[in-house]
C-alpha cells in the first residue's frame, strides 16, 4: 500500500492523537491505584534514586510531548510540512523509547509497584503510526508527490 503525502499526514496525525491518548492511560501501578504517564513522572522524579543520565533526561523530555505534538500539527496547518513531519518523527522516537523502557521494566503482577502495560502499549502503537506517517510525508515531499 502506497500512501500519498496527505495519507501520510493523516497517519501521523492519528498516531500523535493515539500517543496523547496513551499518555493519559495507566502507566504506573501502585497497589490498586493506577497513574497516567504525567502522574508517573511526578512520582518518579521525587524518588530516593530518581532516574539519572539518559533516563532522567527522557523523564523531563516527556513533559514536552504534548507541546511538541501540538507544534507539529500547527506547523503542518501553516504549511511547514517537512519540519512538521520531522517533528512528528522525533516525538515518535522519544515516546517509543520511553514506552519500550517501561514495558521492559514491567515487573511481576504481584509486585506492590510496577509499570502498567496499557499506557505504554497504546503509546507505542501511536508512536509507530506517527513515525511511519512522518516518514511518508518526508519521502513524498522529497519526491515532489503531493497526493
Amino acid at each position: 500500500m502506497r500512501f500519498s503525502a496527505r495519507g501520510g499526514a493523516g497517519l501521523a496525525f492519528a498516531g500523535l492523537v493515539v500517543v496523547l491518548v496513551g499518555a493519559f492511560l495507566p502507566w504506573l501501578r501502585s497497589g490498586s491505584a493506577l497513574r497516567d504517564s504525567y502522574q508517573s513522572v511526578d512520582v518518579l522524579r521525587v524518588q530516593p534514586a530518581p532516574p539519572g543520565g539518559a533516563a532522567g533526561v527522557l523523564l523531563y523530555a516527556w513533559l514536552a510531548v504534548i507541546p511538541l505534538c501540538s507544534v507539529s500539527v500547527a506547523l503542518y496547518a501553516l504549511g511547514v510540512r517537512r519540519t512538521a513531519a520531522a517533528l512528528a518523527c522525533l516525538v515518535a522516537v522519544l515516546v517509543a523509547v520511553v514506552s519500550i523502557a517501561a514495558m521492559l521494566n514491567m515487573g511481576a503482577a504481584s509486585d506492590p509497584i510496577g509499570f502498567s502495560p496499557i499506557g505504554p502499549i497504546v503509546t507505542l502503537l501511536g508512536a509507530a503510526g506517527a513515525f511511519l506517517g512522518g516518514i511518508v510525508v518526508l519521502r513524498r515531499l522529497q519526491s515532489g508527490v503531493q497526493r
Binding site: 503525502a5 496527505r6 499526514a9 493523516g10 496525525f13 496523547l20 493519559f24 504506573l28 501502585s30 497497589g31 490498586s32 491505584a33 497513574r35 504525567y38 502522574q39 511526578d42 512520582v43 521525587v46 524518588q47 530516593p48 534514586a49 513533559l63 504534548i66 507541546p67 505534538c69 501540538s70 507544534v71 500539527v73 500547527a74 506547523l75 503542518y76 496547518a77 501553516l78 504549511g79 511547514v80 510540512r81 517537512r82 509486585d111 506492590p112 509497584i113 515531499l141 503531493q146 497526493r147
Partner: protein
C-alpha cells in the same frame, strides 16, 4: 484528514502557501501578490495553529497541575487521602501524603543504607530503593477508615491533630526475594524463607484499649496539608508525658556555613543550653522539635553546663544526600585553665592535654583491643566483625550533618544519626556478614 475551514473542508493539497517551494526561489514578490484563496487558507492555518498550540499548552499545564506532591487543601482532605491511599495499598500515594521534608530525610537515609547493603552483598545491585521501600511496607491495606472531622484538634495554624475512629488496617509484609542476594538468603534462612504472619488492626479495639481515638498529626507546608510521622510521634510523646503542645514555637537560628552550624550546635550541647541546640536544628526537617521544644525544655531538670568552650574547631566537609557531613578535623577545647587539642590523623584522633603534655591516640585498633577482652568467648571471626562495626565510626570520622534551608545552615539530628549508622556499617566486610550469621561455625 479534514479540518473545518470557513468552507468546512480540509484542503491539505491546497495549502495556504507552499514553503517547500520557497527554498527553490519561488517566494512571492511585490509584483506577484498571493492569491485571495491562499490568503484565506493562510488565515485558517494560523487560526488552527494558534488553537492547537493553545490547546497543547493548556493540556500540558492541566496534566502537570495534577501533581500529587502538592499536599491537600485541608487537614481533613489530607487524612482522607491517606486513608484512601492506604486502603488501595498505594504506597507511592502514601509516600506523597507524608510531609516532604520528612520523606526526603527518610529516603536519603534509606538510600545510603541501601548502598551499604549492596556493598556488603546483602542486597542485589540492581535493586531500586523505591522498590525496597515499597516491599518493606508491602501488604499494607485498609478498609473503612473513618476520621472524626468534628473533633479534630487544631493546635495552631500549621498543626491539626486528626482522630481516627474506625476501620481496619491489615499488614501482611512479605520478604522480597528480589531484594536480597541468593548468598545472603542461603546464610540467613538455611531452612527456607519464613512465612511472615499477617496482622489486622481493628481501630475500634485500639480505642477500647487506649480510651481514645488514634491521633494522626497533619501539618501545613507551603500551603498544602500533609500527614506527619514526626509530629504524630511527638504528639504521642507529649500525651504520654501529660504535656500539651506549647502555644509558641522556638525560633530557628541558622548560620552562614555548615561548619558554623555544627560548631554552634556542639557548643550549645556543651553549655547544656538545649534551647539553643534545638534552635540550631533544621526548621523544616525538625519543625516538630521547634514546635514541641518549649514543652520538652520545661520537662527537663535544670541541666549543668560542662564548662567546656570550643576555642577553635575545623571540619572536613563531606557532601552527603541532602546536606553536608561536617567531620571533625581538629579542635581546641578549654575548660578553666586546661586546654585539650584534638587532631584527626588518618583513621585516628590524637588527643593532647596542652597543660600536662599528656598525649593519647584513639584508633580503631583501640576498640579492637578492648573488644578482644570483652568478647573473649565469641568466635574470632564474629569478634572481627564486631570490631569492624565499631571501627567504622572512627574510620569515617566523627561528624554531624548540616542542611541548608532559606540560605542558612542548620544541624539535622535525623540525618546525623543516619550517617552514624551508615559509618558503623561501612566498616563491615562481606565476610563479616557470614560470620555474624554463623555461616562459618
Amino acid at each position: 484528514m479534514t479540518y473545518p475551514g470557513s468552507g468546512g473542508q480540509w484542503q491539505p493539497e491546497q495549502p495556504p502557501y507552499q514553503p517547500q517551494q520557497y527554498g527553490h526561489g519561488s517566494w512571492p514578490t511585490a509584483t506577484q501578490p498571493p492569491r485571495r484563496r491562499s490568503r484565506r487558507g493562510l488565515v485558517i492555518g494560523i487560526v488552527i495553529a494558534i488553537v492547537v498550540v493553545a490547546g497543547g499548552t493548556a493540556a500540558t499545564v492541566w496534566a502537570l497541575n495534577r501533581s500529587t506532591q502538592a499536599g491537600s487543601a485541608t487537614p481533613q482532605a489530607a487524612v482522607a487521602k491517606l486513608a484512601a491511599d492506604v486502603s488501595a495499598g498505594d504506597l507511592l500515594g502514601v509516600q506523597s501524603d507524608l510531609a516532604p521534608a520528612e520523606t526526603a530525610a527518610i529516603k536519603d537515609i534509606g538510600a545510603d543504607g541501601s548502598n551499604q547493603l549492596k556493598r556488603l552483598q546483602i542486597e542485589n545491585p540492581g535493586y531500586a530503593p523505591q522498590t525496597q521501600a515499597a516491599n518493606g511496607a508491602g501488604g499494607l491495606s485498609a478498609s473503612g477508615l473513618r476520621f472524626d472531622a468534628a473533633n479534630a484538634q487544631t493546635i495552631n495554624d500549621h498543626l491539626v491533630i486528626n482522630k481516627l475512629v474506625g476501620g481496619t488496617i491489615r499488614l501482611s509484609p512479605k520478604l522480597d526475594q528480589n531484594m536480597f542476594t541468593q548468598q545472603f538468603l542461603r546464610s540467613a534462612f538455611p531452612n527456607g524463607l519464613p512465612k511472615t504472619p499477617s496482622n489486622t488492626i481493628d481501630i475500634a479495639d485500639v480505642i477500647r484499649r487506649t480510651g481514645q481515638p488514634v491521633r494522626i498529626a497533619t501539618i501545613k507546608v507551603n500551603g498544602g496539608w500533609y500527614t506527619s510521622v514526626f509530629y504524630t510521634a511527638a504528639d504521642y510523646a507529649l500525651q504520654s508525658a501529660r504535656l500539651t503542645w506549647p502555644a509558641t514555637s522556638l525560633p530557628a537560628t541558622g548560620q552562614y556555613t555548615a561548619d558554623n552550624a555544627v560548631r554552634s550546635f556542639a557548643q550549645a550541647l556543651l553549655n547544656a543550653d538545649y534551647q539553643a541546640a534545638i534552635e540550631a536544628t533544621d526548621p523544616n526537617e525538625m519543625a516538630v522539635l521547634h514546635d514541641a521544644g518549649t514543652a520538652l525544655l520545661n520537662r527537663l531538670r535544670k541541666p549543668t553546663p560542662t564548662g567546656i568552650t570550643i576555642d577553635t574547631i575545623t571540619f572536613t566537609d563531606k557532601p552527603v544526600a541532602g546536606g553536608v557531613d561536617a567531620v571533625l578535623r581538629s579542635a581546641t577545647l578549654r575548660k578553666g585553665g586546661d586546654t585539650l587539642s584534638i587532631q584527626a590523623q588518618h583513621a585516628c584522633y590524637a588527643i593532647a592535654d596542652q597543660n600536662t603534655g599528656d598525649q593519647r591516640t584513639l584508633c580503631p585498633s583501640d576498640f579492637a583491643g578492648q573488644m578482644q577482652s570483652d568478647l573473649a568467648g565469641l568466635p574470632p571471626d564474629v569478634t572481627t566483625a564486631l570490631q569492624h562495626l565499631t571501627s567504622g565510626i572512627l574510620t569515617s570520622g566523627l561528624g554531624l550533618v548540616a542542611t541548608e534551608t532559606g540560605g542558612r545552615w542548620y544541624v539535622s539530628p535525623a540525618r546525623s544519626v543516619g550517617e552514624l549508622l551508615v559509618a558503623m556499617v561501612s566498616g563491615l566486610q562481606p565476610d563479616d556478614i557470614k560470620a555474624l550469621l554463623g555461616e562459618n561455625h
